[in-house]
Symmetry: C2
């Protein structure tokens, strides 16, 4: 009898767990089905990209994007949609930059450049000088003032092609762009040209943010990116003839900060309304393309997470928010503001997921969380396998959600295939036609599935229990 009881108990337990597993599988299947057959992300991105376009912080387009996304969120029947004011920097590119290489014999060859975001202008008639090519700051230091003063420093360290993660390759190069002017000005350089952060050889310059730190205004030197093809050309010409000069002209400038907004929508939790889970991307973009991959994709995917939960018949226990951050590219003001307000209000953000790595086929997530939460994630791997989502690693999350970090919460970043990302990143080729509908929709579904699981099973249950016991 006792054996019979145990067997029955075991049977019931197994049935219980089986039913549960079945339900998760079904729920996730429905999420993917909704996204692939009835998704909204691609239509939203089409409007954001082709009807609005590049959305640099402080620009008219950025404000149009705020209005458009708020309007679209309003249509979704969420519990709450609002704008969160935030002051953002306003940098303007001005007229199109121009540049040429001048050989020792006076022959001019036009090259493709663009001002780096935050750079000062050149003198009105442009700047012409000899060029010193370096691969890194150590070379710069070794050359010293005597070789650099009065010249243009040309940073030409390419992205490392044999790294599988192109983001890792980017990480290994981007200090040239971000800190290049500060370092070069130490040695009296009068301008900076940086090889574009691009693994391809092509003619497109890629912009991106740079800093002057606390350099006095008089010491701030104009900085521009040059296309990879033209970086190769300039390097070759310098090897043949040290007297080769570069001319460039740009009239970008930094204006006063202006008022802008994070756009926020919320489904209020049915059981734990004071536990917040957010999904987000950034609404601003650079101005050369239309910002489809960076980060229109993340914006529309995040919006669709809330819609997909509703369409899949899921009633979240916790409050789920979509946050469309303003000014990730050149200031991170939106991300900081959101975290600041959350802290002021004492809102408990248990989970934050960012999509800011392009709208390509999703491969998985990286997690910034404690081991308990990470093990919880690993236990869900089989649920993701049918969707070819295999990548679950500890690592970074995203710039905008980073300020929300606590000891117990879970920050995550969607990790799509990264191979093509830097073909488009910050360049005029970051446009709607470079986004594939299915790849984008798979990303939205994958994010929704993770949100569904964390909402259902709770975040870091051990810690929560402790908190409850207090």
């Amino acid at each position: 009898m006792r054996i019979l009881k145990s067997t029955m108990l075991l049977f019931l337990l197994l049935t219980f767990f089986n039913v549960n597993a079945q339900t998760d599988e079904e729920a996730i299947k429905e999420i993917y089905k909704q996204s692939l057959t009835n998704g909204k992300s691609y239509d939203w991105l089409n409007y954001l990209s082709t009807q609005i376009g590049g959305r640099l912080s402080g620009s008219l387009n950025a404000e149009r994007a705020v209005a458009y996304t708020k309007e679209e969120l309003d249509k979704l029947g969420l519990d709450k949609v609002w704008l969160q004011p935030v002051m953002v920097p306003k940098w303007v590119r001005g007229y199109k930059e121009s540049a040429f290489i001048e050989s020792g014999k006076g022959k001019k060859t036009t090259v493709n450049i663009c001002a780096l975001g935050g750079s000062v202008s050149t003198p009105a008639l442009g700047l012409k000088a000899n060029v010193v090519e370096v691969k890194n700051f150590e070379e710069l230091k070794a050359l010293g003032k005597e070789n650099i003063a009065g010249k243009i420093v040309f940073y030409n360290r390419p992205m490392q092609a044999d790294l599988i993660s192109t983001f890792e390759a980017y990480g290994g190069c981007v200090n040239q762009r971000y800190k290049g002017a500060v370092e070069a000005s130490k040695y009296g350089a009068i301008g900076v040209i940086v090889r574009s952060m691009n693994l391809r050889l092509d003619d497109l310059p890629h912009t991106g943010s740079m800093t002057y730190d606390d350099l006095p205004v008089a010491n701030r030197i104009p900085s521009a990116a040059i296309s990879t093809n033209d970086a190769e050309l300039l390097s070759t010409m310098l090897k043949l003839d040290k007297s080769t000069k570069l001319y460039f002209k740009q009239n970008c400038k930094q204006l006063k900060d202006v008022l802008s907004y994070n756009v926020i929508g919320q489904i209020t939790g049915s059981e734990f309304p004071n536990e917040y889970m957010i999904v987000g991307g950034h609404l601003d973009s650079w101005d050369l393309g239309d910002g489809s991959h960076d980060d229109g994709a993340g914006v529309v995917q995040s919006m669709d997470v809330l819609r997909l939960l509703k369409e899949s018949g899921i009633t979240p226990k916790r409050s789920i928010r979509v946050v469309l951050f303003m000014n990730e590219e050149n200031g991170l003001r939106g991300g900081k503001k959101y975290a600041e307000v959350a802290k002021q209000k004492g809102e408990n953000h248990v989970f934050a997921l960012e999509s800011d790595s392009g709208g390509f086929t999703p491969r998985g997530f990286s997690f910034d969380c404690n081991d308990a939460s990470f093990n919880q994630v690993l236990s869900w791997q089989p649920l993701f396998k049918p969707y070819l989502i295999h990548y679950f690693e500890k690592g970074g999350s995203g710039a905008d959600v980073g300020p929300l970090k606590t000891e117990t919460n879970v920050l995550a970043g969607l990790r799509p295939d990264s191979q093509r990302y830097f073909d488009h990143h910050h360049a005029s080729s970051d446009t709607f036609d470079a986004v594939n509908k299915r790849e984008l929709e798979l990303g939205a579904a994958t994010m929704t599935a993770l949100v569904y699981l964390f909402d259902k099973y709770g975040i870091n249950p051990i810690t929560n229990e402790k908190q409850i016991k207090k």
Copy 2:
């Protein structure tokens, strides 16, 4: 003392295995590095696609592709490069097809079609008739002769969008294209129009092979594919007005078989020269695009496998062959011929890997092999993880290597990301610009790594042992 000995033995064993593992890791790292920094596949594909172009069996371009790839293999310093003669069908498209929808009121709307490969021509002045739309052969049967005779059958079952594998979605639709004419002619239809096998809505018709089985020539009806946008349009117009007609004109024809070639190159094995391992793709393509993804990618990746082995300092124990098959698209004559000759010569083909699913980011392989070999593969999974290769499943290999199947050998297919494949497959958009250099190179490296492991550790060692004991 005894414990000490055991410990030392354990230590030595661990060291031995560790050294071995290290070596595989290093070898594979070198393979990826070579491919990503020094690969040839992209340059070869550039020539094949932009300088030669579409390579339909029996065409001048197909012969140019034979000559070009042989010439390039000759440069690699392989042990042997040769052409294997094979008679192939020669079907020609003739002038560009034209078509329009004519409403009941006589209004004409041009639509985009292309003849299916193998189709007969329409009458010289084209064909105009009423249209019957069906989703499958069951609907066709239910409608019967009285509703179909004298009309054009319009197959309009779309690819299923919520399947993650787009190849599975293709498999669920392609009978409309391949068998549509045979089935429709049973009921007296005079022509067939098939919705293109494409998950996107766009204006491009996608060709592909079709059969008449043993239908008498008089009963063969012309068959064409229509773009997905135009399929939607035609369907809508038919719903509004049953008297809507379709006109189409094409003058394709089947000519006599002509002589062509498989192109083969070999590195002869250092220990087991009579065990053959092959890698391959198909050299022919459809004629609308330049066949970059289908299957220029597989061709150049396969060629690069042999080069990458050499460049990475690997001396294969077994004979490694690259086989560039002719006529996969409309006859499979090359694949059949290769297997036939191999059988005649008693060549022991222990392994065959095909790449014919596009030049996109590789995700893994599917295997047609016994459990012993599959378990061997699974034990290698950790070696592939750093390269984000996660997909190892039993399943099909490829059409061209299929005829080589034995009970003991291993057939495999490279499985790249499939989301964008059917945007390009058999359409004018299958062009070089749709291939990303890194994605292509990662595929070549992934193939090379698998070949390296199977060559090093042997195929299905249990069976081999048995054979040796005989």
